[in-house]
Symmetry: D2
Subunit: 354 residues, 4 copies
């Protein structure tokens, strides 16, 4: 593929699309192509993303397959259910573009899981865009799969946080996968930009509230799928996200039963081994715990792990920026791999804090 590559973004006026744009503006081998939107088509970018000064006067066009044709890469930042049709239309038009879907449509392998959690027909499965995912069968990581991908399903933000937090324990067997409990503190941008009463600032400020409690959240089968890939025979997961008053960030606290006979040093070694060479996932020094603020704007996952001998459980905490490592940064990392570029190209490693 000749450089620079041109990238079109569908759904560019939302938060995920805006973050893809922000990162691509700093990518040395990319030019920004068509930016499409639905109800905001025709508006200047600056009206909806006043932070994207470099594009203030560009305008959104309608989200149609036609507008997305002719680019090397197409990023879909659409509500779930909308990606399938666009992808099919691109295919039908003979597009050879690399397509990345930031939505959920193509993440799940199991159609039954899809139908149970999303209540609609399954659109099919694309290669999964989590380069750090451990593949137990092959002894490699998912990045090897992504090097030849032409379609990529970008993971859910919560899924990335929980998977990165716990997978070293699963892959090494130092924890059991059959009784995982994950509770997350989530920033509001994960809920998107649509105006809903429970998302307004007056409701959010000074409050914490759980949602999708009791095994109903759509990210559950996706986490389970990842952990099976990482080596678990069977996965059972209690998963509860919680909205807290911050715009960005996921702090995922995941606990698992400690495998009988395993000591703390072995646990720590598992995490160290798996993340020693990862450019974006870091085990913090002992005693230092992740803060979401430290990841804001960066494609970084900060991880810590501790053994609670009294409770017989391992506790791991993973902090990410839901819009970066959880969505747009993860997408670009996968894009880099699929395009044969350095995996880290254009991706910030340092957060914006405080």
């Amino acid at each position: 593929m000749h450089m620079p590559v041109s990238v079109a973004i569908a759904g560019a006026s939302g938060y995920a699309g805006g973050e893809v744009l922000r990162l691509l503006l700093g990518h040395p081998e990319v030019t920004i192509g068509a930016l499409t939107a639905h109800k905001n088509a025709g508006d200047p970018v600056g009206l909806h993303h006043p932070h994207l000064r470099d594009l203030a006067e560009r305008r959104f066009v309608e989200t149609t397959a036609e507008n997305l044709l002719g680019h090397d890469v197409v990023v879909l930042a659409l509500p779930h259910g909308a990606s399938g049709a666009i992808a099919a239309a691109l295919e039908a038009a003979g597009s050879e573009a690399l397509v990345l879907d930031c939505g959920a449509d193509h993440r799940l392998v199991d159609a039954g899981d899809w139908e149970a959690f999303y209540g609609s027909p399954h659109a099919g499965t694309w290669p999964y865009g989590l380069p750090e995912l451990v593949l137990a069968d092959s002894g490699t990581r998912q990045r090897e799969v992504l090097r030849s991908a032409r379609r990529i399903a970008v993971p859910g933000c919560n899924v990335t946080a929980v998977t990165l937090g716990i997978q070293p324990g699963i892959a090494t067997g130092v924890v059991e996968a059959t009784d995982l409990v994950a509770v997350l503190a989530n920033g509001y941008s994960g809920a998107g930009k649509a105006a809903k009463t429970h998302l307004i600032a007056s409701e959010a400020l000074g409050s914490a509230v759980p949602y999708a409690v009791g095994g109903t959240h759509r990210h559950i089968p996706e986490i389970e799928q990842n952990l099976r890939a990482a080596g678990a025979e069977q996965v059972r997961l209690s998963f509860t996200p919680t909205l807290v008053p911050m715009a960005r960030g996921i702090l995922a606290t995941t606990t698992a039963r400690l495998t009988e006979g395993i000591d703390s040093a072995t646990v720590r070694a598992a995490w160290q081994t798996y993340y020693a060479d990862e450019p974006f996932v870091h085990l913090l020094p002992e005693g230092q715990w992740p803060t979401t603020a430290a990841t804001v704007g960066a494609n970084t996952a900060l991880v810590q792990v501790a053994v609670d001998a009294r409770a017989g459980r391992v506790v791991t905490v993973c902090a990410i920026d839901n819009l970066v490592k959880g969505t747009a940064g993860g997408a670009i990392q996968s894009m880099n791999l699929a395009l044969g570029l350095p995996e880290t190209m254009g991706l910030p490693t340092n957060g914006v804090a405080p």
Copy 2:
């Protein structure tokens, strides 16, 4: 005891002391007695609690046993370790005051637990100030014990939230107590008013961060003690608190394995039965989840429960205001019982929201 009762507060310039004051100012049978402080002694109340207009010109006096003598009730809102000496001095001086300790010193029954988690000699055990605590042995609740108490150990704020959230399941046996996992979203006022770098606003805003991870938090043995009182033979608890950017509030998400053969209706019935007549603890209608904002300023605990059949776990969420039901309101509720007053007297039931 003649009315009104006079109440002295030791440590009145801190957050817990200030909240005791705020509530007592609305209590119809109380007059405010001595207000003591350490480094703020001599200052007007209005300088440290500008929200307490009714006391703006009162001044703090030194925290000495002498200044606390001559009152019907003494509330200790001191750092742990400081209560024992004051209580002993009051005792020695022949005080017949009801003493409530908002600190940790007298909560734990087991001296070994105390020493393991606090690292200092045990000061002894006082009657435990959680009126709603289920007592499996007697088939009553803790309020019966409190009616004759002259010394009361006010529970820890996190302890109240977790205990109220999960105890109906424990008491009825619909959940197992041997593998509990609790993760909490905590407002910053729980960390007190001392100036520490990790508590400054620049660090807190836009961030979530866990603390005391891995079985080290001092509230763990206290929760276990409560749940044993509620009927558990053995308790194992993984407990992780998380600071999120709000001033007040605890949202405690606690999960427990569902006892084999129990269905959702039975679970819900357990919670309904146990809280049907409680004035301050409320099971929300199905599908509505607690928000901490709804409890701000009120002595209210909002509870919800759901069964996650896929994970084989019950999830319960309890929201309280850490300074009210979690500290000052809980203290006054217990005080009312010990004084023979209506349990709810002077305690707000409606929160200040949004």
Copy 3:
């Protein structure tokens, strides 16, 4: 009027209506009557106001004049434009109820001002519900007018903050009224509960943004009207509100030119004199500045004033809770006066902080 008085609230599912409810639940001479809503009619109160535990199971009825009849007091907490028709229907039905309009419809005396700022026909003028307003002509305060009122126009929240901040200077002539500048930091609840994109938490958190800049805000003529009542011959006001990430509160910084020859002591004396006997408005000790947090939940206005000799200006800062002193508390204070009750009855003076 016999006690308790029954109070109906139109628009009870919004923020202003909810706050009227919260305060009335603590009012010793009031029973809660009909609670009406528009799209939320039929819903339980607990669904929209989970903090109002005492009314969790009450249901909203449709907002019709019929539903509001038969009460001693009717509080209208409706969008502007909606109050006039309801008031007329109550009148036509022969209702003798005291009616308080929390909306803007009946605040302005000058129909031309109304039409210029609201763009619709003027609904007429009701007695103005700011008891502390200085009336230069009569040498009294507005509370005297309210004692015989049967219709009351509750002031705008920003108006209350700016008026209370600056009126002592105007009334005494120690500052000039011809070049006032007010800039406000405003919590989001002032914008109401309607879901709009610019009000969602993701947009609000970590951001400050002005609105209605350049002399367009509808509260401007109302402030001018008040300051003329307080003695200004002519008023010119630059007024800029700013949304900042808090749910409640207004911090109004107002500056005025110092009248030639006036010294600091004279300025301070003006504020002291005018607020010495006010139960809800307090000049803080020198050097202590108002915080909005100190007023949360209370019907309190905290005021401070300083002379900037270098700039030739007086700076005054007034903090209130926009939903209490700025709306619901102010309404109840006026209601008390009109009903012949103690002005302070049922109104909190102590804030909920931190």
Copy 4:
């Protein structure tokens, strides 16, 4: 000067120093040299700046002139009063380094102003690091001065916001400089990283509070100095900053009397003309107002202006990130100029939002 240039930072463990580091890590012609600290000397960078992953294992050294020698550039991010001695020691040691002082010591030209506002002897005046500052006398901007500077005084954050907001009106004479009023909404990072009770999150969350009211803020003479440079004969400024619950950002609302006979179009044209070619300062399209969130992490100033004919005043609002355009970004922009590099090199133009 050969490239890359090595840059040492004194006071690198604070917020200003951390932000200089964050930006320099993205600067293509810079290598990071010595990082000094006072009480944090010896600690790894990752402990104090967990967001700066690229430097996690580097360690701070003591803040001594010796440690700062041997670099091409030295950035001083120290409390005011500390820079003078370091600068003198570097001079004495024969250092030819470019020195940028992020503190206040060398900003003011007038020693009397310094002594009046800072209460200590004046350390002297360095070239002022605000490239966009209009110089009325020469008809150029301050960037021309900076191209040959070897010492640079980085402006105060509030000063940058107010100056950029109002200077086009001053320079063109469309507003009067003799009665300016500026009120600012400020994020907490401007107050630094020191632990003080009034800065802790519990105090900050849900609150707005002014500080340094009444003409006492040390940035006042600096703003006046700038506006005189921009062409004002005499400047009078009322200046009130306000802490609001956000970590970063300044929203400066500044008003000035409209010069007699000037219309709105002329006002707008003044701002357009002066900022048309500025790479970092942008006049927004009419009707769109700056938000601080849009500038987070970027060296961007967003400006808007409106005429309030009723009040006879121009209102201008300027939003910046206090740590970027207000401190570290401004410093690097000036450094680029002094080194003969492109002025915009290494400086983000797009913010991190939401």
